[in-house]
């Protein structure tokens, strides 16, 4: 029984779910509610899709009845704000090129489908600690890694307008700003 599990580009492999979810979520209007009744696809009517829409990105959580709906909306907000802090003005490309980091951040908030930590400073502290560890290790073996970390910026002009990750198509017309 999962309570919250991110069904986003990075985690779930069930392409079918992702496709269906994307289909459901993306065609919804701007000012409708952020909750979608669960179909069989996500494990029956006890589960709900709760999503938030930021510029060109959708963050979708699948949640069972043990969580408060508004609480999850706020959790998404915390997640996005944390991403923003960790990446310093996060954009889609960060999410694509640093799937592992995004995953780490999410792992600090949600664990085994359950909400772990909601305090942004706490999360950021943890992530910073990990980054420090990473850097200290990278000092030993990481010259090549440092080189590629620049890739993101260098390659920007050639980056395609449409990158397909797990069928959630992320459009990159202009670098987004989070609300």
């Amino acid at each position: 029984q999962k309570s919250t599990r991110r069904v986003n580009a990075s985690e779930d492999t069930q392409q079918q779910i992702i496709r269906e979810t994307f289909h459901l979520v993306s065609k919804r209007d701007e000012n409708v509610c952020n909750f979608l009744e669960g179909g069989l696809l996500i494990g029956g009517s006890d589960n709900k899709l709760i999503y938030r829409h930021y510029a060109t990105l959708y963050f979708v959580f699948c949640v069972d009845s043990s969580e408060s709906e508004l609480g999850i909306l706020d959790l998404i907000q915390v997640f996005v704000e944390t991403l923003d802090k960790c990446f310093e003005n996060v954009c889609e490309l960060d999410l694509i090129f640093h799937v592992d980091k995004v995953h780490n951040i999410l792992a600090e908030m949600v664990m085994g489908g359950m909400v772990l930590e909601t305090n942004m400073n706490e999360i950021v502290t943890q992530i910073d600690a990990q980054n420090k560890l990473e850097k200290s290790e990278a000092g030993l073996a990481g010259a090549p890694a440092r080189a590629v970390s620049a890739v993101k910026n260098m390659n920007l002009p050639e980056i395609p307008r449409n990158i397909n990750i797990g069928d959630i198509s992320i459009k990159v017309p202009n670098l987004p700003s989070f609300k």
């Binding site: 029984q1 009744e37 043990s66 408060s68 706020d74 694509i96 090129f97 909601t118 090549p144």
Partner: protein, 957 residues
């Protein structure tokens, strides 16, 4: 930063225009990685990590990965954080729980848990929680509680350990041992670190649902924690303050935890009530921030508080405030809040205290149904309308739902259809309205009308003879439409086949016109419907001999007799043969009207339960049932235990598919064959077993037709409630009578014991054979009422009377009445009669005389709201005070004169005797002559007794 690297490598494929090119590219990369893993044995940690990471990325792109697991496991034992982390990530995502590698993985996890390095411990706990397999539970369920409660564990590890344990408990509760750690976990609610408290609350909430006793102490701790948060200034909790709301997540969790328990002791309760009031008050304060996050967080806590109030269902004041708050949200411009308000109101509607308050919002909800642009919200509105429906507003709500159905989203149509069908049946006062509603349903959303729904309408039409003529007329008119849904043809075919004769007198719906109308639809229908229509035709042969030849011609046509479908062919051949060789008498027996169906739980309700998951619907239904205890029998628990009654014909089960496979389905050749069987099985037994008897029997003068006989039970069943009411105030009389049988009663009661004499009189000149009366009590009734009797002689001679004695003992108060079921064979036909036995709670009354002063003193003592039940109702009989007095005395209580200051009022007192208790009862009846109304108030020391006595007595005036 190897992922960026991988991403660039692999997502080069995003440049690729075609899917094939992408696959090609990925295959090339996979081959490369494979050769690296195989070839160079001394792959260093960094490269290993890089390739494992690439594999992970490729997997996330949606491609299968079937190697690299071993390398990932190797990474776990690395001392470098980055390598270990990628290893754990790969395993969490890609290793399925029954992999052979699980031993190796468990070993690595064990080492990390013992490492005392909080980062490594965190990674290991995450991995356990993400995989959550049984093997992992076996390996670590004992270890994790120790980590959780150890004094020197870091806060972040404690948090992870709590949730990890929760995950294991959810997947394999049997493997998580309860022990002395539980009390220490409860004390985590006092922890300094709010993150730890939040995680611990999640854990305790789940554990407490299964082991409430073990975690009972958490209630007071949770309340005091909550109260500290709620009353703190918005800056006190610093980091855990989210947009000016102090610790919203923790508040929500604590409120959830409290929902596992009933309202706490008075001391704690006062504090909790204060908290809840504060939360409600804060909702009215102006927002501290314009940001949506602020109101979101605030309302998350508010909604949870409202859920808790509804759950406790004990503070009317809070309930009313909650209801008003939700009412405000119903009109809020924020869609999310409207959605959640509708959802919470749904639960609120089932609370006694607030049902009426919820009903005041009906216009808003209907409006939401019409104007909301969001299907999620509309769906909630439908649910709420269903929950708030009762007899007073059923017509309006059903009409609105039907309206909505025309434009409803396809995904929820079937559910709406079921709901409309249930409400229409449950609250039907006027069954013509019911028939209209269901036909409308079929017209509007025929495709979504499941079999259960149209089966049910037929069941009801057959069981209620007051609506049969109307039903026939209505379906006939509905069938006139040029295009009608196949389900309508089915209902129409069935009903006209049974009751077409009721409208045949009208030249506009003469037999031939009915037949032609149905036959004009025949060719457009599917095989099962055609099969049903063929049965209708043969029934027409019996109902309307004048069109027999027309029908025979149709049956004889090649398209029927040589139909490619075996089922249709068989029916055509057999029906044609039957219509040619059988005499009118035999035809009449074979094709007689369907006997009434035994009452049972509506199969539609069963279907809705299945669709929505049992929990949601049953709760709702149960509370609704209580409220509508005396409404239409249809949806109430069947008074007759279905299995205990052998139904007059196996066909009765045809429509009861909800309760199990019909016993007659087995011999039926095709799925649609049951109808065929029902037509044939009955005559088969009747004709072959008792052919001579049946001949004789049709000749007997006192029997107009066999149809009449089989209608009897339905009449009796319908009248059963009235009959029971008749016996509430008297002990002797005729319980049942038809052309064949008369049942008389004589009974006497003393304290909690009673004896009832039942007299069965055979009114005919022929013997009744295998005469078996059976007393049927539901399980619940059996535990409250003890009935003992001896079987009677199985043959009852013509004109004779047999007597049966029933000894009665009341063990505890009860509401249902036992059912007397009588089966016997009369001539060729099997007879089945069910009547309710008028054994009611008031029979165990002993009158008590008392003076005015005593009466009012006792009246005041019984002032607890549960002890009083009041009913205001219209007079059904002339309001004669003498008759009323006689009825109150007949009811069993003493009639106390000169007690009530108003001489027009009636006051009574008595004691109900049961084996387990004696229950003192006071009653007061206030007539209002102008309005032709009564107000009846019952006060007894037991809630259920007040309720039942009030119901019984209300029916008498």
């Amino acid at each position: 930063m190897c992922v960026a690297d991988t991403a660039r490598d692999v997502s080069g494929n995003a440049h690729c225009k075609s899917k094939e090119a992408e696959i090609k590219r990925i295959n090339k990369e996979l081959a490369n990685i494979r050769s690296k893993f195989k070839g160079d044995k001394a792959l260093d940690g960094y490269s290993k990590k890089k390739y494992v990471c690439k594999l992970l990325f490729i997997f996330l792109l949606g491609h299968d990965i079937d190697f690299g697991h071993m390398e990932a496991v190797n990474l776990l034992s690395s001392n470098r954080y980055t390598e270990k982390q990628i290893g754990y990530l790969f395993i969490s995502v890609l290793v399925n729980s029954n992999s052979e590698l699980i031993r190796l993985i468990n070993n690595a996890i064990k080492n990390d848990l013992a490492s005392r390095n909080p980062t490594f411990m965190g990674l290991a706990l995450h991995c356990i929680a993400n995989v959550g397999s049984r093997e992992m539970a076996e390996a670590f369920a004992g270890e994790i509680p120790k980590i959780l409660v150890a004094g020197d564990t870091m806060d972040s590890v404690k948090q992870s350990a709590a949730l990890c344990l929760l995950r294991l408990y959810r997947t394999s509760p049997d493997l998580v041992p309860m022990g002395d750690w539980t009390s220490r976990v409860v004390h985590l609610l006092n922890d300094q670190h709010l993150g730890v408290v939040t995680a611990a609350t999640s854990l305790i909430t789940t554990l407490a649902q299964k082991n409430p006793e073990e975690f009972k102490t958490s209630v007071s701790l949770a309340v005091s924690r909550l109260s500290r948060i709620v009353t703190s200034a918005s800056t006190d909790l610093q980091d855990y303050t989210y947009y000016f709301v102090p610790a919203p997540w923790l508040s929500v969790k604590l409120l959830r935890l409290l929902q596992c328990y009933p309202p706490p002791d008075p001391a704690v309760r006062g504090r909790l009530t204060e908290c809840l009031e504060t939360i409600l008050n804060k909702a009215q304060e102006p927002p501290k921030s314009k940001k949506v996050q602020h109101s979101n967080a605030k309302n998350a806590v508010l909604f949870e508080a409202i859920s808790l109030i509804i759950h406790h269902d004990s503070e009317p004041n809070l309930l009313v405030r909650a209801c008003n708050q939700l009412g405000q949200f119903l009109q809020h411009r924020e869609t999310n809040l409207r959605y959640l308000a509708l959802e919470s109101m749904c639960t609120l509607a089932s609370s006694e205290f607030s049902h009426e308050a919820v009903k005041t919002h009906i216009e808003t909800v209907i409006n939401a149904l019409k104007t909301e642009r969001d299907v999620s919200v509309r769906q909630r509105a439908v649910d709420l309308l269903y929950a708030m429906c009762d007899r007073s507003n059923a017509q309006q709500i059903v009409a609105e739902m039907l309206n909505y159905l025309e434009t409803a989203d396809y995904s929820i149509r079937e559910e709406i259809v079921l709901k409309v069908a249930i409400l229409a049946e449950k609250y039907a006062v006027d069954y013509t309205w019911y028939v209209d509603t269901i036909l409308n349903l079929i017209r509007i959303a025929g495709d979504y009308v499941s079999e259960e729904v149209w089966y049910r309408v037929i069941q009801i039409v057959i069981n209620r003879d007051d609506v049969q003529g109307y039903a026939a007329k209505t379906v006939f008119e509905a069938l006139q439409a040029p295009a009608c849904h196949e389900n309508l043809v089915k209902v129409g075919g069935y009903i006209l086949g049974e009751f077409g004769n009721l409208i045949a007198g009208d030249p506009r719906s003469s037999p031939l016109i009915q037949f032609n109308l149905l036959h004009s639809k025949f060719h457009l229908c599917s095989v099962p419907t055609r099969a049903l229509l063929l049965s209708t035709y043969i029934k027409f042969v019996n109902l309307f001999p004048e069109i027999k030849t027309t029908i025979q011609d149709v049956l004889r046509s090649d398209s029927q007799l040589k139909n490619a479908d075996v089922e249709l062919q068989q029916r055509a051949v057999e029906y044609l043969r039957l219509s040619t060789i059988a005499s009118t008498d035999i035809l009449a027996t074979v094709l007689e009207e369907m006997p009434p169906f035994p009452e049972r739980e509506s199969s539609i309700l069963a279907k809705l339960k299945k669709k929505k998951g049992p929990s949601t619907v049953t709760d709702l239904e149960e509370t609704k049932k209580e409220r509508s205890a005396d409404m239409n029998g249809g949806t109430e628990p069947a008074p007759v235990n279905a299995s205990a009654v052998s139904t007059p014909s196996p066909s009765a089960d045809l429509l009861g598919l909800g309760t199990g496979p019909p016993p007659n389905a087995a011999p039926a050749p095709a799925s649609s064959g049951s109808l065929l069987v029902d037509v044939f099985s009955e005559p088969a037994s009747a004709v072959t077993q008792l052919a001579p008897g049946s001949q004789e029997n049709f000749a007997s003068p006192d029997l107009a037709s066999s149809e009449l006989v089989s209608e009897e039970p339905s009449e009796a069943a319908r009248g059963a409630d009235e009959l029971t009411h008749k016996f509430v105030c008297k002990n002797n009389g005729v319980l049942f009578e038809n052309q064949l049988l008369q049942i008389g009663l004589k009974s006497e009661f003393r304290q909690n014991l009673g004896r009832m004499f039942i007299f069965y009189g055979n009114k005919t000149s022929t013997q009744f054979l295998t005469f078996t009366p059976t007393l049927i009590c539901s399980d619940e009734l059996q535990s409250n009422l003890n009935l003992q009797t001896k079987p009677v002689d199985p043959t009852v001679d013509g004109g004779a009377q047999v007597q049966q004695v029933v000894n009665i003992e009341c063990i505890s108060d009860f509401t249902e009445a036992p059912v007397l079921n009588i089966q016997f064979r009369y001539g060729g036909t099997f007879q089945n009669v069910s009547v309710k036995l008028p054994i009611t709670l008031n029979k165990f009354f002993q009158p008590t005389e008392m003076a005015s002063q005593d009466f009012f003193q006792r009246w005041k003592q019984l002032s607890n709201p549960q002890q009083e039940v009041q009913n205001i109702f219209k007079a059904k009989h002339p309001m004669d005070p003498e008759i009323t007095k006689a009825k109150i005395i007949g009811f069993g209580s003493a009639l106390l004169e000169e007690v009530d200051p108003n001489p027009a009022n009636f006051v009574g007192a008595g004691i109900i005797h049961t084996r387990t208790a004696q229950i003192g009862c006071l009653l007061r009846l206030e007539p209002n002559l102008q309005a032709q109304m009564y107000r009846l108030t019952l006060r007894t020391s037991k809630e259920t007794v007040s309720q039942r006595l009030c119901e019984l007595l209300s029916e008498q005036f």
